[in-house]
Each structure stands twice: as structure tokens, then as C-alpha cells.
Amino acid sequence: MSDPLSDEQLPDDRFAARIQAEVMAAAEERRREDPKLARIEREIERAWADVAPPGAVGPTEELLLDRVDRLALVDVDAPIGTKPGVKQVKGAIRKGIYWYLRYMSDQLNAFHNVQARLLRRFDDRLSRLESVIGVDSAVDDLVYPAPTAGASSGRRLADAVGSGRVLVLAAGAGAALTELDNAYGVERDPQVALAGIDAGLDLRVGDPLEHLCGLEAGTIGAVLIGGALQRVSPAAAIALVASAAVACGPGGIVAVAVEDRSRRADAAAELLGDRGLAPTTWGAILGGVAASTESVKVDDDGLEALVVARLS
């Protein structure tokens, strides 16, 4: 482990980011090297599931669905108070309320149950889809890392961007950041990000999509999409561009560093098939939110072009 830089060398927000990245990378390495650690984690999970009540442990989505199931039922036994009163009057009120509530709740229950079943079916379908498109870690090693935006992309984007802050998504080691004045990157892999953080770049470890969606509208000057994010499906690409456009606001720039699919290694080429979109397709998608789009050649390793769109 390298020595942390002093405060003078490393601005405030980078110091903690660097230590966090080092911690995440070290944990990942230890998990790989020490199978006992994963076993302990599983043992703790199992023991907790044993002592916690049924339904209290599990993925949040499952807990939410359980909650939907339970809340879907409207109870018709309405409380009408326990204070002493005329027994017959109370009885009549109870019957009247019961009749009316039952009439209402039967309809509501039917509606809620259909909604709950629908949610369950969506969840099942989503799980099946995830299992179909999911790749295990062994395959990951063959198809990743996806080429990220490099210095050439950064220079091209710098020409187009004004003074606004630039966000580089799936930034890798942050090569594009070296060419941009006011920029930061988000990278999922701590091992990869660490190299950039060590070089003094403003690079954060985290989920790029979550980071993008967490930004307030119009707070970023430009978003550069690269790495594995430009291998998404067309529908996901449209959603991604829309989110980036919201983060930028009018006049902002959304750019995509597009992989050259013909230069993929043999294994990656076969495993990925046609996954990923051509620069022209990205141009068309960006055209949906932009006043103008332009595709420019870049010299970055594994990239075909940088598609730059200025938002209307």
C-alpha cells in the first residue's frame, strides 16, 4: 500500500476518496485470496436469518413486495370506539359501517390484489431477464474492461465545452480528465480508479448510473459517457441519454465515447456479439434531445469515435 499524500499534495475531497478506493480495492483482493472471508460473511447472513423474524431479512425489493401484499388487504372491521354508550345504537352503527366498508373494501381489495400480483409478475420477469443477460465473473474477465474515454476524447470534448463542470461516467483510470479543466469522473472498479486517484485526478468510486441519477437538474455542463455504459441496449441508451440531458440542462453537452467493435479481442467479440451501438445510432439517439450532434474521430485505444451533442 502506498503512503497517503500529505494535505498539501491532495485536496480535501480527494484524500478521503483515495483512502476509500484503497479500502475497497484491498477488500476485493482479500475476498479473492481468502475464501474463508466469504464463508464467514455467508455464516453471519445465515445466523441472522435464523434469529430474525420471517420476512425481516432479504433483498429490499422482496421486503417491499411483501409489504405490498400485506397492505393490499383493506380490513373491514373498522374500530368504532370502546366508550360506553347505548348498546343498540352502537350495534346499529357497527352494522351500517360494516355493510358500507365491506362494499367499498371488496372493490379495493380486488384492485389491490391485481396490482400486487402484477408487481410479482413483473418482479419474476425482471429476475428471469437478469438471469439471461447476467454474466458471471469468469465471463466478465473476458469482456471487460470496456475501452474508456481517453486523452484524445478529453481533448475533443474540451474544444466543445465551455466553463461548465464535466462529468465522465465509467471513467476508468481517468485519462480523459487529464485534458479537461473542470472535470471529475465516476468509476465502479476501485482497482482501476485507484491509478487515477494516485495521479491526483478527481475520480470517485461508485455506481456511475446512480451518481448520474442523483444529480440535480441542470447542475453539470457536460456528461461524457464511456466504458461499459456505451455497451447498453438501445432502450437503456435512450434512458441514459435522457438522464444525462436532465443533469446538464439546456445548452449542456452530452458526449459518448463509442467503442470500435471491430477491434474487440476474439473472446470478447464472440461473447459480446453485436452488443453496443454504432456512432451513427448514438447520434440518432442523442438527436432526440439535442439541437446538433457531431461525430469526431479519436485516437483513444479501442474507440471508434466521440459523438458530441449540444442540447437544445
Binding site: 497517503p4 476509500q20 474463508k36 453471519i44 400485506r70
Partner: protein, 354 residues
Amino acid sequence: MTRSPIVHQFTAVLAERDALGRHTLAVDDLLREMGAQTQIYATHVHAEVRDRGRDFREHPDDPAPDLIIYQASTGTPVADYVASRSEPTVLSYHNMTPAIFFDMWEPAVAAELDHGRRQLARLCRKASSGIAVSEYNAAELRDLGLDHVDVAPVLFNPLGSDGDAPDAFDGATLLFVGRVSPNKCQQDLVGVLVALHDRGIAARLVLVGGASSTGYHDAVVELAARMGVADSVVFAGSVSESELVGWYGAADVFVSASEHEGFCVPVVEAMSLGVPVVAFGSSAIPETVRDAGLVLADKSAAVMVEAIDRVLTDATVRDAMIERGRARAAALGPPASVRRMRDVLQPLLVGAGS
């Protein structure tokens, strides 16, 4: 000559020992200092602050206020009463734990929290503005349609430096302060302790705070026993201020695996007393800690252990975290927090008095 504005604060329970109670009392002090006539109303006023608060059911008989400030934290009849009033109302939001955390442990508490959220939505439509103790909380109010929300930290008195020193321990002391509650995820900290022991690091886990759910508390105790670390977990329960200071003094690291915090006063207390923070970055934690601690995107035992080990063994990191922690705590605590609250309250008082 204009008369002093009358400001009434409403809260569910007024007690000196909880963060919300202390905040409400501090806001009351500040309002008086700023020239307002004030009164606090609650469903229940604890004996130690009986002279500071009144039962909210007595409010209709009192002179009508110019401004109401409602300190929202849970479902309570007070909220319905406030919603029924016609005076300008400011919603001061301390966040509500999402009911899903309590569903399977304490269904009654979950129902109360659900009720509180519905009341909150209704009050957002009525309130003229909001005060949130963090940006995280402010975002919730804005999502509910309240456009004007200011952020001002929780007001609390800093802890003193003298405390009752607990028994000495030959190893690292990991401390968490907060109610034993499903959203605080103390079970994950027990898991971290197990992984630390497995790595050969002598450590104990100290959990300070009363139980929000006895079922959950018992389950955490049972987990510690099953994983063979029962002797290394101290359930300190609710403690006095001097005992709390003592635990902070004995702590090597403040650890948090909590999944829901609207601000997290204990983290600020830890930072102010020079205890480095290792925390899972959920809800308002990243905003409260910023770069003054290790805020982690993942709270698996592997990652938490690595972070704790780093803080314990790397003096450079430890010193940096302590130094940054003190600076961050100073930015969030008095007098900075009081100044900020005064800035937020001033225009409200001007509006109320006009």
C-alpha cells in the same frame, strides 16, 4: 412600536435526553433571544422539562400565535392539530424512519411511521416553508411539494471532555451510538466484529443506546451469541452524558452500518471528540461526514474490516481523519449551527411580526 411575534412550537414528545427535544428547546431559546414570545406544546412533556412545555390540548385556550413551527419526526396527533390551524406554519423536518424497517419487528411502530408520512404529506401542502436538518431531508420535503426549504443543522450542545472512563480493554474498541433499532443495523456491526476476530484483531463492539424494538435487540444479542462474540459485545443501553463521554473517550473508531439517518448527531459528537469515523454511506451520512471520515459505498464485513483496520493501523490516515473530523464537527455544531438557524428564523420572524 411593533409587538413581539408569538411563535409556538409543536412536537410529539418533549424530553431533554433526546436529540429532537434538545433541538426544540434550543430553537425555543434562540427565538426568545431574537425577541419572540414562545411556547412549546407536545403530546407528552417529560418531568425534567415540565416548565418548558405544555400539553398541546391546552393550546386552543391560549392566545393565537403569529407563527407555528412543527418539529416533525413521527406520526402523532399533534400533526393533525397543527394541520387544522390557520396560522402560518413552518415544517421543521428531522426525518422519519421508513416503516419498512419496522414492519416485521414492531408492526405498531411501522403503522405509526406510515401515519407520520401521510401527515407529513398533508403538512407539506399546508406549510409556507420548511427547515430541514440536512439536504437529504430537504429533498424529501421538496419531493412532497414544499418548494421553500432551508437547511440548518440540528442544534445540540457539545459534550464535555470529562467522562466516566469504562473498564480498560486490551484491544480496539468499536463504538456505535444510537438506538438499537432495525434501521441502524447493529447486526451488521456484530458481523464486522466476527470478521475482525477472524483476522486476529482483538476488538470489542460497544453499542450505546436504548432499544426501539426489544425483539430486534434480543435478536442482535442472539446473533452475537451464535457467532461466538457475545463476550466482546457490550450493550450499554441508555447512558448518562458522562458515561457517553467516557465511551467516546475509550473508542478507537466510531462505526456505523445504519441504513437510515436524517442527520446523525452521534457521528458529529464522535468527530468533535476526536474519534475517527468509519460509516456506511447511506441517507444523510455522506452529507454529515463529508471527507472527515471513511464513508463506504459497501458495508460488507470485508470492506468494513478493511476500513477499520486501516484506521487502526495507519497513523497518517487516523490523524487526518481526527483532524478533519474536528473541523467538520465545528462546522456543524455551535456557534456555526446557531448562526445558521438564526439566519433561517430571522425572515420568518419578520414575516410573522408584520
